[in-house]
């Protein structure tokens, strides 16, 4: 009698756990299925249609994809986005690591410096890009500083208009975002650094390793989870470049499409040309690029990096 009561208690407990479980996840899962999973397949569906302002007119199969891959402006957008990602990710990661190592040492005021370094990461991209455009103007503070140090750029190109010259615009944005994101990357490295046991380093130093050897053979490998995280999130973020490009170069990614990115291209196809099917195909292409690069990074860093992050 006693044991059957206990049994039924356990059963009802199990039942109520199942009930509460489904109750708790019902709305979140419905939202995920609707806003992410459903939307994902809807995007693929739309991408196979000639879909204008009045809605779908004709199923065109893979024509939208073919058209994208033969449009020189889209190819330029892909090149710009990849060039941007391949340059900004190593710079912001290295800078983030360097800053983390700087403020990780037990020095006076390390808290202040940590906050100062993180500062550009918290402001909105709209605010910071606008400020950047102002500082980089031909008569702006940056050129004034260069002049002060004896570098006069006003005769070199376009009166030193960094963001209005197709040769320098993208590199200027790379500089801007390396500066704004390095603070976030620093925090990821700091979190990882603080879990690294100092005894490995001490043991290596006792064995006569130089500081450089300790860094390359002890610290760097132990930071693998952070490397993976920083490179992956950095790459995904970089391929989604939009805010800085539209603020500095407008919807056309001026000058001369030098700031045209994949996302800006989607924006144009969608809201200036109202070619929703075509825009959706570009979205799918962007997803495929991001997805394959993430998988590639998983293989490069090895599966242990995944577990390290969880």
């Amino acid at each position: 009698m006693q044991s059957s009561k206990k049994h039924s208690y356990r059963l009802s407990r199990k039942k109520s756990e199942i009930l509460v479980g489904y109750g708790f996840i019902s709305i979140p899962m419905a939202l995920f299925l609707f806003l992410s999973v459903g939307i994902f397949f809807y995007a693929i569906y739309i991408s196979t249609y000639d879909w204008g302002l009045i809605g779908p007119t004709e199923n065109v199969g893979l024509d939208n994809y073919r058209r994208a891959l033969s449009d020189p402006i889209f190819l330029k957008a892909i090149r710009n986005s990849l060039k941007y990602a391949l340059l900004v990710v190593p710079i912001q990661s290295a800078l983030g690591l360097f800053l983390a190592l700087l403020v990780n040492s037990k020095i006076k005021g390390s808290k202040f410096f940590r906050s100062a370094f993180y500062f550009p990461s918290i402001a909105s991209s709209a605010a910071i890009t606008t400020l950047f455009i102002f500082l980089m103007a031909p008569d702006g503070v940056f050129n004034g500083m260069l002049k002060f140090f004896g570098v006069d750029v006003s005769n070199l190109f376009n009166q030193g208009a960094w963001l209005s010259d197709s040769r320098t615009a993208l590199y200027s944005i790379i500089g801007l975002n390396a500066w704004t994101t390095s603070g976030t990357m620093m925090l990821f490295y700091l979190a990882n650094l603080q879990t690294v046991d100092s005894q490995y380093r001490e043991a290596a130093i006792t064995d006569g390793a130089s500081r450089r050897q300790v860094f390359w053979y002890i610290t760097m490998p132990l930071l693998k989870p952070a490397h993976f995280f920083v490179v992956t999130t950095g790459m995904i973020g970089a391929l989604q470049l939009y805010d800085q490009a539209i603020l500095a170069g407008g919807a056309d990614g001026s000058p001369d499409y030098s700031l045209m990115t994949m996302v800006l291209y989607i924006y144009n196809a969608c809201f200036r040309k109202f070619e929703f099917g075509y825009a959706s195909a570009i979205g799918v292409i962007l997803f495929v690029i991001i997805f394959s690069l993430t998988i590639l990074q998983k293989f490069i860093f090895g599966s242990s990096a995944w577990r390290g992050e969880n």
Partner: protein, 269 residues
């Protein structure tokens, strides 16, 4: 040498912001002069953004605050509920559903743009009336990353904490509200701060979804006015300064919570 590097980089990170404050109180003819302290400081730019521009700063601020707060509340509720269920409750299909959540983290916003927009048009939420706000709430209603973060944190809470309450006959719902939720305060604070910052700063979705100038957020306003004012920098800089102050205050106040969570979730390994 060490300190000079630290100070040098702090100058690079902080001085541009000081410059934006300085420019916002300069008269127009001093804007491109290299003096940091204006010769004839004026608050004219602030008068402009508080009064003359349409929509004015107060409207942009109220919209940003309203949207950010609603999104924070939605993220907290859904992340806590789903995070707890995935971490502690046993029910059929749990792991498969959690895998779906992880998959949702892989869907970029840019892929969602076109279908989401089409859907919002069909739902008649792309309009200039108050229901336009619902469009942005729906787009941002839930975050897979927050559910994941919440689950990871719940997993680190020792089961012994629940055992005592279980013996007293507490069911899963009481365990959640009386034991788990109070112990998850740091991660809730982190999600709140990061979601607030992300929503406050977001330009992508507002620039696509919000139709009426009366609905614009601060970043969207900056984008629009930057085009309108072109070279009249003091009012634009005033907007830059005013939109950054709340986030700065939020971080000064909440910074320690964020670092704590990052540490504890990575210590778990």
């Amino acid at each position: 040498m060490f300190y000079s590097m630290l100070i040098f980089y702090s100058v690079i990170t902080v001085v541009p912001f000081i410059w934006s404050v300085s420019t916002s109180i300069k008269p127009s003819d001093e804007v491109y002069q290299s003096n940091l302290i204006p010769e004839n400081p004026t608050v004219k730019a602030y008068a402009t953004v508080f009064g003359k521009i349409q929509p004015n700063f107060q409207t942009l601020f109220a919209n940003s605050l309203f949207i950010a707060c609603v999104v924070v509340v939605l993220h907290l509720i859904f992340a806590a509920l789903a995070g707890y269920a995935f971490a502690r409750l046993r029910f059929p299909g749990r792991d498969a559903l959690f895998f779906v959540v992880l998959g949702c983290m892989m869907v970029p916003d840019q892929l969602r743009l076109v279908p989401m927009y089409q859907l919002l048009v069909k739902m008649e939420l792309i309009n200039t009336g108050p229901t336009n706000y619902l469009a942005i709430f729906l787009v941002k209603a839930i975050s897979a990353a927050d559910v994941f973060l919440m689950r990871q944190y719940f997993l680190t809470i020792p089961r012994e904490l629940e055992d005592a309450a279980k013996i007293d006959g507490a069911g899963p719902f009481q365990l959640f509200s009386k034991i788990m939720l109070p112990n998850a305060a740091p991660v809730l604070a982190t999600i709140a701060i990061m979601t607030f910052q992300g929503t406050w700063n977001d330009l992508f979705w507002p620039s696509i979804v919000l139709q009426s100038p009366n609905h614009w957020t601060l970043p969207f306003g900056i984008l629009q006015f930057k085009g309108q004012f072109s070279t009249d920098w003091p009012p634009i800089m005033a907007l830059v300064v005013l939109s950054t102050i709340p986030i700065l205050a939020l971080y000064t106040f909440g910074q320690r919570y964020i670092i704590n969570v990052q540490l504890s979730s990575s210590v778990k390994g």
